[in-house]
């Protein structure tokens, strides 16, 4: 089907420079907004799971003592926690 259609004349479709510039400007603003909102939404979904991942590496003392998104000190490396 698509093979039988005639190619459109390019000149008829090309937008005027002013229009193209406007489209590009609107395009950047909306691209930025849409993707920023997507990133924000995904962060809300992912950060708690990520926290769980980091918390699973910690001992109780590390859970309260270390930064939330940092690895704990595993028991088999430090002899202090289980000796």
């Amino acid at each position: 089907m698509s093979a039988t259609t005639f190619p459109r004349p390019r000149t008829a479709l090309a937008p005027s420079p002013l229009k193209r510039r406007r489209a590009a400007r609107v395009g950047f603003a909306s691209t930025f907004t849409v993707n920023a909102l997507l990133i924000l939404g995904s962060a809300y979904m992912v950060l708690p799971v990520l926290w769980l991942f980091f918390a699973s590496t910690k001992s109780t003392a590390d859970l309260y003592g270390t930064a939330a998104y940092a690895f704990g000190h595993p028991a088999f490396l430090t002899t202090s926690s289980r000796s």
Binding site: G27, S30, T31, V34, N35, L37, L38, G41, S42, Y44, M45, V46, P48, V49, W51, L52, A55, L63, Y64, A67, A68, Y69
Partner: protein
């Protein structure tokens, strides 16, 4: 040809009586028997696993364990009619639980459905990048079991452990998410986190089925992305939206996991905080199975009435 055309149907009509007598009887005979054979396993399991427990709990709800004066001797099971239902409905905790559940619905449904709709429309926007990645990330919470989700957020609400509380405190805001009057929004947040991604996927799939020529026509007519989203895409995914509403309403009535996990972390959530927790408490802490059965029947009736209302409302909206 012109003459033949009318005769053909006529002959068919003439032949019809004999064939209607013979064919359907033969068809319904074998079809009915074969269908019954194939349907038997379904109905057997359905009757055993769905109908029998419901009937059993209805029967249970009309009886009560009665002990003689001093509590010695064996308890007798006696028919008490609607006594259990009256006791459940007179319980302040149960009615208060229904109130809390209504408040929870009023907060959760707009937040979750609105959020899912917004995220799905953003994903479907022409300028969105890395759609597969965002889809995966947004669906991630739904892969986490409900109990684990409640546990994660219980930690994220607890001062001292929570990065959220500490960040807010460095910003000069001290919030206790587990306060008596802030616990409801906190639980709403857990449910929103769990369920938004799932519904985003449902809505995004519906958005994929929106005919591209309709969108193209709208674009030619001068509609921007936002206008196309609100006036073209939104009406076309209304059926999917109403399915989501149905599942969400039924799901909210079954609220149990999140508050019962959170109740271990704070005193703001009592053991009879929502109707389901009341029924659980009646059955396993107060050992009053009959009252628990009555409460369950009341919850099931509420779910039935609400889902009927939602399907009625959404079918009317889809017609309009």
């Amino acid at each position: 040809m012109v003459n033949q055309a009318p005769t053909k149907p006529a002959s068919r009509v003439a032949a019809a009586p004999t064939s209607t007598i013979r064919k359907p009887r033969g068809l319904s005979g074998t079809g009915g028997r074969t269908a019954a054979l194939f349907l038997t396993p379904f109905f057997a399991v359905f009757a055993l696993a769905m109908v029998a427990p419901v009937i059993y709990s209805i029967v249970l709800s009309f009886f009560a364990q009665q002990k003689s004066g001093l509590g010695f001797g064996e308890a007798k099971t006696a028919f008490v009619g609607l006594e259990n239902y009256l006791q459940v409905l007179q319980s302040e905790a149960f009615v208060g639980g229904i109130g809390r559940l209504a408040l929870y619905c009023a907060m959760y449904i707009p937040c979750m459905v609105g959020g899912a709709l917004a995220f799905a429309l953003l994903l479907d926007a022409a300028v969105a990048r890395a759609r597969k990645l965002f889809q995966l990330l947004v669906f991630l919470p739904h892969a986490v079991p409900g109990v684990i989700a409640a546990l994660i957020w219980a930690y994220l609400y607890t001062p001292g452990v929570s990065p959220i509380v500490s960040v807010l405190e460095t910003g000069g805001i001290s919030l206790n998410f587990l306060d008596a009057h802030r616990i409801l929004p906190s639980i709403v947040n857990i449910a929103v986190w769990e369920w938004t991604g799932y519904n985003v996927i449902v809505l995004f799939t519906a958005l994929q089925a929106v005919p591209r020529e309709v969108l193209e026509a709208a674009r030619v007519d001068g509609a921007g992305e936002i206008r196309a989203a609100l006036s073209i895409k939104l009406p076309l995914i209304l059926p999917a939206l109403s399915v989501i509403m149905l599942f969400t309403v039924i799901g909210t009535l079954q609220l149990f996991t999140e508050p019962s996990i959170i109740s271990k972390a704070t005193a703001s959530v009592t053991s009879t905080w929502v109707p389901n927790m009341w029924a659980y408490d009646a059955a396993f802490n107060r050992h009053n199975l009959n009252q628990a059965a009555a409460a369950s029947i009341i919850i099931a009736l509420m779910a039935a009435v609400l889902s009927w209302a939602v399907t009625r409302f959404s079918s009317r909206m889809n017609k309009a």
